[in-house]
Amino acid sequence: MPRDTFEKQVNDLKKTLLELGRVTQQTIVEGVEALKTRDRVMAQSLIAQDAGINRMRYDIEERAYKLIATQQPLASDLRGIIAILLVAIELERIADHSKNLGEIVLRMGDEPLLKPLIDIPRMAEIGESMLSQVLDAFSRNDAEAGRAVCLRDDELDSLYKQVFRELMTFVMEDPRTVTRALNLLFAAHNLERIGDRITNIGERVIYAATGHLEELNVEAPPAAK
């Protein structure tokens, strides 16, 4: 092959990205586990991990810039490297959302949970599984698999709405629960945002594989009153 060095560099970059994906996936698991068990040590370790994840993202970005500047990739090579760059940014943000779960655990202290956690762990489970699927689609350059993952974002959205409604009823019954409700709502919100970021990754998978930029899961604007 005339571009062995280049191909090796791209493959190495892809491997690093998938490693970042694996680490990010683990942060979702740990975030919700810390929330369920109110484990402050785990929450703190999750927060401490974030700097390393950020470094991984910057390392990927830097290597991608260098490849673009020195190798002037075109066509599928260009799309692949741009996708790696953008997916790295999304993964780092997903890890930030997980870190937020850790911060919520620390903020809640010893305060009892407002309600047993059912939907929030379910949301984390879906988010983690979606991330695993989308990374798999990315590594196989499979646009259809990328698109399929994004359909699952609706499940996260409806669970989030459900959590929101439920917490609001608690607040309406007893306004003193507002802080505890907001902590849980904030946790659910972060998990819902993880779904959106995974959708963005799905869009990059489609772009890398097909060259088409398409926006997935566009919500219809609210009807005019």
Partner: protein, 272 residues
């Protein structure tokens, strides 16, 4: 038609599509028995830059030279198919080849100024057409301005063109080409002998010139094609070693998402 009476910059009435300046249809080009170009069909839009890319020896320059009948200058060559300018076939028997080359000018790979002064280089074509005096001076100045060279040479117009730097010489050649007011400018690797700064100057010049001229450029530099052209043609050799047009489309598409695997393999460097 390419009779002297009908020369001019206005598209002819019989042009099938006013947006299309040149139309190449089923073009074959032979050097003796060897077919160097096979079945090329492409439309070149007016006032835009069309790039032709492809590996060495695939027939890019040969194709470009068929666009103003430069191939005629080589013995034992023959053309099948047609190349039209504003709807008229430049290979028709009654066509005045000199007029074809006046309407379709050319800039070559290496700067090739005449061993004459800067002024005379640019004045050469207009003088042949009988222009002189103040009008000639105006044409020379305007052509040098259009070629983005005037400010650098205005005080030394009577120095030899060969004393200029490579990049300046190439812009002088562009000025010489546009002095006879062609409608199409063919450029065969115009920057291959230039350094990056001179290259960028020529590219900027091309971008400015495309408002007035139809430009077709052959280049090995894919980034250059990507930077300056709106359409890109990718050529390759078929098993008989004849140049064929593999893919022709918007430059952005060719460089980000080509339709043919052959194009993808070439532009990503996985060719051969």
């Amino acid at each position: 038609m390419f009779t002297r009476a009908l020369s001019g910059n206005t598209p002819q009435e019989n042009s099938a599509d006013p947006q299309i300046k040149m139309r190449v249809q089923n073009l074959d080009f032979y050097y003796g028995a060897f077919r160097a170009i096979a079945g090329v069909t492409m439309d070149i839009p007016e006032k835009s830059i069309t790039a032709i890319i492809g590996s060495s020896g695939c027939g890019k320059s040969t194709l470009l030279r068929t666009f103003n009948r430069m191939g005629d200058l080589v013995g034992h060559t023959r053309v099948r198919g047609s190349v039209t300018l504003d709807g008229d076939n430049i290979y028709d028997r009654n066509v005045d080849v000199v007029l074809v080359r006046r309407r379709i000018g050319m800039v070559f790979q290496r700067p090739n100024p005449f061993p004459k002064s800067i002024f005379d280089n640019v004045a050469y074509g207009p003088r042949l057409l009988g222009v002189g005096g103040k009008e000639l001076e105006q044409i020379v100045e305007q052509s040098l301005r259009d070629a983005a060279l005037w400010d650098e040479v205005k005080d030394k117009l009577h120095q030899s063109g060969l004393a200029l730097s490579g990049g300046q010489q190439q812009r002088l050649c562009v000025a010489r080409t546009i002095a006879v007011k062609p409608e199409v400018i063919l450029m065969d690797e115009p920057c291959s002998a230039l350094d990056p700064i001179a290259t960028y100057k020529i590219e900027e010049l091309m971008i400015q010139l495309r408002n007035e001229y139809t430009i077709v450029i052959v280049t090995h530099n894919m980034q250059q094609a990507a930077r300056v052209s709106s359409l890109t043609a990718f050529m390759n050799m078929n098993p008989d070693r004849a140049g064929v047009l593999v893919e022709f489309g918007p430059t952005t598409q060719i460089f980000t998402n080509p339709a043919k695997k052959e194009t993808e393999d070439y532009i990503t460097g996985r060719f051969g």
